[in-house]
Each structure stands twice: as structure tokens, then as C-alpha cells.
């Protein structure tokens, strides 16, 4: 929101929530320089996704600069987020196990420059599908897990270690047992890499047993899903559950089903890193999450 004189209005976060809370499943705004994030009893975290460290190609000839830029931008947030999550495809895939580990080590070193030290990782298919998550686990630990923060339950669901994009019966049973410890009204956030619904199956933008996962999630009335994979912002509702896809930090992909092939959008030298970005997410009790999208500053 901008003041008529052209200066950014200064809002505290509760005001921001009140101003934008009419959005239903989420409240969404563009990044507002100067907007205060201070608040007493709610918190925010940052979602970064699809960094594809190690990618070399025409879709981003400066891919090795994008992630460090994003890290610097996140480090400049004041106040700092409570934690940061990377929703998969940390590295670009390779057939060479040694090269995969080299990319993961380089990625981990760059991510280690984040000032906020609570950083949650999860794999994408580029990290995990060729070795069933073996290298990822060496560097970042479990591929599915849960944690709690300030009264919100967070669950990381792995739908990529199986190259066929199955979560699998064992993990679904774990998910069901994990959630069963919470009442149906508890605030829950699910992180995953692929969409849990059939966004564009002809582009492999789906989870093969996503319907079974959604059956487990549906009883929870205050549950939101954040994911990556599709390299663009996207918002979808499955009943009362909102799914929010994040932008990538390597190259944008076309809108679901908008063209014949899911090829990256071409690099535009006049607008480098256009379409790339990350987001911060504010949680305030059982209110819908408030999303703010940030671009990557090329300068």
C-alpha cells in the first residue's frame, strides 16, 4: 500500500493483517519496503524454493548469483523471521553422485550465511529422486518430519524421494498418526515440494497418491499447504484447505497448461530475474496466513 504522496505507508503487522484479511484462504500483498513486521504474539517465517544450485543454462545465465542475493535480502529483514524453510529442489539434478554432494555442500554453505539459524530443509525431485534421498539425508537429515513453533504444528511431507512421486503408505500412516495428536481446530502448516492435488498432471505437476494425503489432511480445519516445484506463485483451494506455490530462485515456468511444453520462460536480459522471488508468511493464531511476495533485486 502506498501513500498518495508516493511514500510507503508504515504499518505494523497487525494493521497489515486487518487491511488484507478479506482475501479468504490467504491474505496476499506485494513486498512493501519499510513495512514493519513487529508484533507481539504472532510471527512470520520465510519460504524459499527451487534454488536448483548447480543449474547452468540459458534460462538463467546468472543462476549462481540469484541464491546469494536472496540470502542477502532475507538477512536484511528487520525484524528477522522466526525461521526459514526451503521447499525443495535445493540443487539441480545430476547423474553423478559426487557432483550431487558437491552441489549440496555448496548450497549448504550459502544457506549457512543466513543470519537466522533455524532453517528447515526438504528435498525436491532434483535432490532426491535419483538416489531415493540418500545424499539429501547425509546433508540435511530426514526427508519428512514435523515440528512445533509458537502453537502452530508444521509437517514436512516428502513426495519426491520416490521417483514416481508417491508419498507412500508408510509415510501417510506416519502423517495420520502425527496429526492425530492434535485437535481438528489446531493450526497446522504442511510443507511439500510437489502439489498435493492434480494441478497439471500432463506436466507431472501432481502427487500420485496426493488424494490419499488430502484425505488425511481434510479433517483439520485450520490447515494450509505451502509447496514449490512449479516455479511460480499459485493459489488453489481444496475445500477449506489452501495450497500456495512459491516462486523459484532459478527460472520461472509457464502457467499450468498454458502451452504445449513446460519449458522455462526465456531469460529476458532487459528484465533479468523477472519472475523469480520468495515470500514471507505471517501466522497469527487461527487467522489465514498472510503472504507477501518478494522479487529478487538484480541491482
Amino acid at each position: 500500500m502506498f501513500h498518495p504522496n508516493g511514500k510507503t505507508l508504515m504499518l505494523d503487522r497487525r494493521s497489515f493483517l486487518q487491511l488484507t484479511a478479506a482475501g479468504g484462504g490467504a491474505v496476499i500483498a506485494s513486498a512493501l519496503p519499510g513495512v514493519s513486521l513487529a508484533a507481539a504474539d504472532d510471527f512470520y517465517f520465510v519460504q524459499l524454493s527451487d534454488t536448483h544450485w548447480g543449474y547452468t543454462g540459458p534460462a538463467n545465465p546468472e543462476a549462481d548469483e540469484t541464491l546469494p542475493k536472496a540470502v542477502a535480502a532475507v538477512n536484511a529483514l528487520n525484524p528477522a523471521p522466526d525461521f526459514i524453510v526451503f521447499t525443495g529442489d535445493l540443487t539441480h539434478t545430476t547423474d553423478d553422485p559426487a557432483e550431487r554432494r558437491k552441489r549440496m555442500a555448496e548450497f549448504r554453505k550459502i544457506a549457512g550465511e543466513l543470519k537466522v539459524k533455524t532453517v528447515r530443509f526438504m528435498p525436491g525431485e532434483h535432490d532426491a529422486s535419483l538416489d531415493k534421498g540418500a545424499a539429501f539425508q547425509e546433508f540435511f537429515g530426514e526427508t519428512h518430519y514435523s515440528f512445533d513453533h509458537k502453537g502452530v504444528h508444521f509437517v514436512v511431507v516428502d513426495n519426491v524421494s520416490d521417483p514416481g512421486a508417491r508419498v507412500g503408505e508408510a509415510q501417510i500412516a506416519w502423517l495420520k498418526a502425527d496429526l492425530a495428536k492434535r485437535p481438528a481446530e489446531a493450526p497446522v502448516v504442511v510443507f511439500t515440494h510437489r502439489p498435493l492435488f492434480d494441478l497439471a498432471p500432463a506436466w507431472d505437476w501432481a502427487t500420485r497418491d496426493g488424494a490419499a494425503v488430502m484425505d488425511v489432511l481434510m479433517p483439520y480445519r485450520n490447515l494450509t499447504v505451502f509447496y514449490g516445484h512449479i516455479h511460480q506463485e499459485n493459489h488453489h483451494q481444496t475445500g477449506h484447505i489452501a495450497h500456495h506455490a512459491a516462486k523459484s530462485l532459478v527460472f520461472p515456468l509457464p502457467a499450468p497448461g498454458s502451452q504445449d511444453k513446460r519449458t522455462p520462460l526465456p531469460w529476458d536480459a532487459a528484465h533479468p530475474w523477472q519472475g523469480l522471488g520468495w515470500r514471507d508468511i505471517t501466522l497469527s493464531g487461527k487467522a489465514a496466513p498472510a503472504l507477501r511476495e518478494h522479487g529478487v533485486d538484480y541491482a
Partner: protein, 125 residues
């Protein structure tokens, strides 16, 4: 009950059988021929990747993966199969009655190029 009823039932039953056989022969004669197509799957393409099929006709794909546990998925037909390398995987379906295109793709992540591994059926009249 009189003696003519069993005979009437026999005659009408025989006529029904004859009629049924005639219709069955007509149906057999009208059924479109099965179309058998051999396909090779290899990182990161199918060959052929554009396959013309006849609308409404039965199709049999004989798919051989030569290098990876690829997948073969036709989302619009809710049809998929795993393709174990070195084996011939048979996939059967009936082509839609309407002309058009149907996409297929590999849905088992197979490496840097997986996103390019797809093709399409051209459904012709």
C-alpha cells in the same frame, strides 16, 4: 397348460439365437481393428513420440524401456504404467471417439531432461 406352449417357446428361442448370431457377426465385422504400436522409451524421449490412432479403435502399445525405470502416463485417459528396463510393457486402451490430441509423459523422474520426455497421440477419424 397345453402342448403347443413348449413348441412356441422353442421356436421363439431359436429365432432369438439366430438373430443374436446375426447381430454378433455384424458387430464383429464393424469392430475397428486393433492397432499395435511398438514404442521405445529412453532418457529422455519416446520413439515415436507422436502416434496416430484411429478414433474409437482399440490400441495396444508395446513399450520397451532401454535404460531406466521410466513411467508412461496418459492423464486424460487415467492410464499409466511403469516401464521396467529391458522388458516389453503392454498398455491397452481404446482411443476416444472424438478427434484430437492426447498427451503422454514419463511420470517417474529420470534425470536432467525428464521434463522433456513426453509425446502425444493424434486421434484421427
Amino acid at each position: 397348460m397345453n402342448g403347443t406352449q413348449p413348441r412356441r417357446r422353442f421356436v421363439s428361442g431359436a429365432l432369438a439365437l439366430l438373430a443374436g448370431g446375426w447381430f454378433a457377426r455384424r458387430a464383429t465385422a464393424a469392430a475397428p481393428a486393433e492397432q499395435v504400436i511398438e514404442v521405445t522409451a529412453r532418457r529422455f524421449f519416446y520413439r515415436p513420440n507422436e502416434i496416430t490412432v484411429k478414433a474409437g479403435a482399440p490400441v495396444v502399445l508395446k513399450i520397451t524401456s532401454v535404460d531406466f525405470f521410466h513411467g508412461f502416463s496418459v492423464p486424460d485417459l487415467k492410464l499409466r504404467a511403469d516401464l521396467p528396463p529391458g522388458e516389453v510393457t503392454t498398455v491397452r486402451f481404446t482411443a476416444p471417439k472424438q478427434k484430437g490430441e492426447i498427451k503422454f509423459l514419463c511420470d517417474n523422474f529420470c534425470g536432467d531432461g525428464h521434463e522433456e520426455m513426453h509425446g502425444r497421440f493424434i486421434v484421427s477419424a
